[in-house]
């Protein structure tokens, strides 16, 4: 069953890559971090988080290994690979360009109304 995400297509992958880029982290951590950092604006349905993680891992952008957590229980930690880094840079740049462009257009239309 596919949960619907409020994020635009591809945005979830970008956010995951960013968070993982800050250091090895497990799935639950990513979910929490997403919520905190975005001040609860970004609500990631957890049902789509894990499929996204597995997809990124399969495509070689993320690597995973099992490490002990602070509670002593083992968890699956994700790291960014070199390929993932390059992917993130490319995606982030394209995202920037897009948002800037969209912003420009929006300002333009506001200016025109004045």
């Amino acid at each position: 069953m596919k949960a619907r995400s409020d994020l635009p297509q591809g945005a979830l992958d970008l956010l995951i890559l960013k968070i993982v880029a800050l250091g090895a982290i497990h799935g639950y951590g990513i979910a929490q971090r997403l919520q905190q950092v975005s001040h609860d604006v970004v609500q990631v349905p957890q049902g789509s988080l894990y499929p996204a993680l597995h997809r990124l891992e399969n495509r070689g952008f993320l690597a995973a290994d099992w490490q002990d957590t602070e509670t002593g229980r083992e968890a699956k930690f994700y790291r960014l690979t070199r390929k993932g880094r390059a992917q993130f840079d490319a995606e982030a740049a394209s995202w920037q360009r897009l948002t800037e462009a969209v912003g420009l257009v929006l300002r333009l239309s506001t200016g025109g109304a004045e």
Binding site: G27, Q46, G47, Y50, P51, A52, R73
Partner: protein
């Protein structure tokens, strides 16, 4: 390969996935509890937040990229198990499908070879046939004069050749044997693009007037008569008592599509100096040519037209109004194309009906499995996953059906090769080749997807949750609707086939009701051919044939015997122009194309051809007597109008005769033929007994076939060196003239019966399912006082309604399709109301009978039990 690793590490990956999600939920729960949420509520919220652990797992597996393969494997294993559990269902579906695929593959193999595949020659698209077009739209054989003109002047042809049949008798090396052969101009084999495997091809040096007697043999003659000895090259053989030098042997694979039976070839050796009114102007040659690379039919046509105009400057007559150029492939297949396409269409209908029927079976089973699928959906299977599962199961049925189908096609083509008339298959054997296999596999795949998707869609649709609790009314309703639509389609297609079969049956009845003009029963026929130079004396020829007739008349069981140059319904066609001799006061109109029979005394009496006026030909009409002839009623009517032909003078080709009698019309080429202008002349009076090939007709007291051996012995007793060929009873010749129609009828009948049965099964299936689902309703009706007759009527009416709607649609389809049968029909309209009425009645009756069983089951519903059951 990481992909493969993932597949192999499946179990470990599953454990890790489990652990990862459990970790997530546990942490979430722990955090919620720390935040003051009670443990049970915390656990519920955590599971809700992640959105159902099983569904998430399935999505993760999907992301892994190997899921489809694992699932495929699972689906097939599961499918095999479920199919194994339901043997009756499985075998019904597989056999139905096998019938459709087997029959269509077998027919496709036959049709493909003739209509689609190219001829077995290199660059065969460049080989064309050239005919002389006639003013009346028909076409004529080519002339040597035109051939020479084209050969010398054309710009567009690589090679051109002419050929005529030649039937030499091979002697001096075992039993005398008449061979089929061809006299060919030098480039014949080069036009086809084949060369002898042993020895050499003909050259222009061989093909000249009074050139060397040389011959090329087929592999089979070479093997049978010369033990496959390579030293045969250069050897002398006796053909028609003349010595020929063997110069070549054709490859065993050589298929001679123009004359498939030909076993020996010699150069034509006509006189290149074209004289007026010589045989070089006779229309008796088949002309073949090979286009130069890059040339088109249109450009060649223009080229030939230019040549024709140029030639007409020199020659005043003999050239056609134009030449007709067409690809050899089209030339060979144009006559049989409609029959083959009709048969192919019919078998594809059977395939479609089979698919529809299997789809119906699948749907019926699907509704029984509603609960199972609802349960699987609840356990985390996605909609696509369920569709894939059903598809896999149904593809499995398709694969089994396809395998059995191909196996039966292999057997089917053997039967086809035997029962199909030679004209229809162009004389070759049918084989399931790679193209046909591709067709079969393609048909299997398409069928599988077709009847996979419909049930898959139905099973995965509808309110699955509701199905867990009870059978969903709405879902069942849509099931039933689809199945009804399918049954209607089935009935409609079956009706099209039944009407076609009915029309063919009535055509054949009409055809055999036609009087051939003679009594065909108890008649034995055979051809006796004279060869050898001594028979250049007409007295010896006459003596031989007279003795043959006398010897045969003495065979016990023989009632009468006679000889003719041309035998009705045997494939012989010998036509001459008949003209009235000019007399004062009457202008001569053009000639009447008539069949010419050179006969010996006793022939007309043996066949039972009726005398209408005057007298028959008899022993009086010797070589020295005044030339006398008989005309057929048709010729008398068209040539003499109301006048009495007896006593009138006519010209038949080069000779003049006095008409002494009128006889009844005889069917010469086939029962369906209408042309019956004919002239009978005494053999002795025809160009000094020029016919050296005569057909013997023998009327027997009893079984004609049993006389074959003693009659042959009697002929051989006169001269053992003269071969006897074409031994057949007249009844079998008669049947052969209708062989194409009869074959089409047999196939259509078989297909129609299969279609009718499948349609009946379809109706039965829908009604049985319907009755099972409506048990409760029927119980209530019975409880409320409905009689058995009421309930019977309800169910049967449903079946007959379905059949009626199907029949109505089918009538429209049949009316559109039956026109395509056109050429196969005889003496009957494609919209023959009797055929349509009988077929509709048959179809409705059969469906009513098929409805009876479920109706009877409905009647036996015990209200007290059904009402308590739910």
């Amino acid at each position: 390969m990481r992909w493969l690793q993932r597949l192999l590490n499946r179990n470990r990956l599953e454990e890790q996935l489990d652990e990862e999600l459990r970790f997530h939920i546990d942490r979430h729960v722990a955090e919620l509890i720390a935040g003051g949420v009670p443990p049970t509520e915390a656990r519920r919220r955590a599971r809700l937040a992640i959105g159902g652990p099983e569904q998430v797992k399935e999505s993760c597996r999907d992301a892994r990229g190997t899921l489809w393969l694992e699932n495929l494997w699972h689906d097939f294993r599961y499918g095999l198990r479920t199919l194994g559990q339901r043997r009756i269902f499985t075998s019904a579906a597989v056999l139905t499908l096998a019938l459709g695929i087997g029959a269509s593959t077998a027919i496709f193999s036959a049709v493909n070879r003739i209509l689609i595949e190219s001829l077995p020659y290199p660059d065969s698209r460049r080989i064309v046939a050239i005919w002389d077009a006639r003013a009346d739209g028909k076409r004529n054989f080519g002339t040597f004069a035109a051939f020479r003109g084209i050969q010398d002047r054309n710009q567009t042809l690589e090679a051109i050749a002419v050929t005529r049949p030649w039937q030499p008798t091979l002697t001096g090396n075992g039993e005398a044997e008449r061979l089929e052969g061809q006299s060919v101009s030098a480039d014949y084999l080069r036009v086809l693009g084949v060369a002898p495997v042993l020895g050499r091809d003909f050259t222009s040096d061989d093909d000249r007037l009074n050139g060397p007697r040389v011959a090329i043999l087929s592999t089979s003659v070479w093997r049978q008569r010369f033990a496959g000895d390579p030293a045969v090259i250069g050897r002398q053989i006796l053909l028609d008592n003349a010595s020929y030098t063997v110069i070549g042997v054709m490859p065993p694979t050589f298929e001679n599509v123009v004359a498939r039976e030909a076993e020996v070839w010699r150069p034509l050796q006509y006189d290149p100096a074209i004289r007026p009114n010589s045989r070089e102007w006779g229309h008796h040659l088949r002309t073949l040519a090979r286009l130069r690379p890059g040339q088109t039919l249109a450009r060649t046509g223009e080229d030939l037209e230019g040549i024709r105009r140029a030639l007409s400057q020199t020659y005043s007559s003999g050239l056609p109004p134009r030449f007709q150029v067409l690809r050899l492939q089209d030339d060979l297949t144009s006559a049989i194309k409609p029959s083959l396409i009709a048969v192919l269409g019919a078998v594809l209908l059977v395939l479609a009906i089979a698919c529809v029927n299997v789809t119906n079976l699948m749907l019926a089973r699907g509704s029984q499995r509603k609960g199972e699928f609802a349960m699987r959906a609840a356990l985390g299977a996605g909609r696509m996953r369920l569709i894939r599962q059903v598809l896999a199961e149904n593809l499995l049925v398709a694969l089994l059906g396809g395998a059995v189908g191909i196996a039966s096609a292999l057997a089917g083509v053997r039967i086809l090769s035997v029962v199909a008339p030679r004209v229809l298959l162009l004389g070759g054997a049918v084989q399931v080749d790679s193209t046909a296999l591709v067709f079969a596999i393609g048909a299997t795949g398409i069928a599988g997807l077709l009847f996979g998707f419909v049930p898959a869609w139905h099973i995965s649709g509808g309110d699955l949750l509701a199905s867990i609790h009870q059978r969903s009314r709405s879902a069942i309703g849509s099931h039933q609707r689809t199945r009804r639509v399918l049954v209607v389609a089935e009935v409609a297609m079956a009706l099209v086939l039944l009407v076609s079969a009915g029309l063919l049956l009535r055509s054949l009845q009409r055809l055999f009701a036609i009087d051939p003009g003679f009594d065909s029963s108890h008649l034995l026929t055979m051809q006796v051919q004279l060869s050898g130079r001594r028979f250049n004396q007409p007295e010896l020829t006459n003596q031989f044939f007279t003795q043959v007739a006398e010897a045969v008349r003495h065979v016990p069981g023989v009632k009468a015997a006679g000889l003719t140059s041309q035998l009705p319904l045997s494939g012989d066609v010998d036509e001459y122009g008949v003209q009235l001799e000019p007399v004062p006061g009457r202008t001569t109109k053009g000639g009447y194309s008539s069949y010419r029979y050179a006969i010996m005394p006793g022939y007309l009496e043996t066949l039972g051809i009726t005398l209408r006026r005057g007298r028959l030909l008899d022993a009086r009409d010797t070589a020295s007597a005044p030339p006398s002839a008989l005309v057929s009623e048709s010729l008398a009517r068209s040539a003499f109008g109301g006048q009495d032909p007896v006593g009138q003078r006519i010209r038949v080709g080069p000779a003049s005769f006095t008409v002494v009698g009128v006889v009844g019309d005889v069917k010469q080429t086939s029962l369906a033929a209408s042309q019956a202008e004919a002239v009978y002349v005494p053999s002795e009076q025809w160009l000094a007994f020029a016919d050296h090939t005569m057909s013997l007709v023998v009327r027997a007291h009893g079984d004609a076939a049993k006389l074959a051996a003693p009659v042959k012995r009697a002929v051989s007793s006169v001269d053992a060196n003269q071969p006897i060929v074409r031994v057949a009873t007249m009844d079998s010749l008669l049947a052969q003239t209708a062989s194409e129609r009869r074959f089409a009828l047999i196939l259509f009948e078989a297909f129609a019966v299969a279609a009718l049965m499948l349609a009946a099964i379809g109706v039965y299936g829908v009604l049985a399912g319907n009755v099972a689902e409506r048990t409760r309703e029927i119980g209530i009706r019975a409880a409320l006082g409905a009689t058995r007759a009421d309930i019977l009527a309800v169910v049967i009416r449903q079946g007959v309604t379905l059949a009626g709607i199907g029949a109505a649609i089918g009538v429209g389809g049949a009316a559109a399709v039956s026109r395509l049968l056109g050429g196969l029909l005889f003496g009957i309209s494609p919209l023959d109301p009797i055929t349509f009425a009988v077929v509709i009645a048959l179809l409705v009756t059969v469906t009513a009978v098929a409805s009876w069983i479920p109706a009877w089951r409905a009647v036996r519903v015990d209200p007290s039990i059904t009402l308590r059951a739910e």
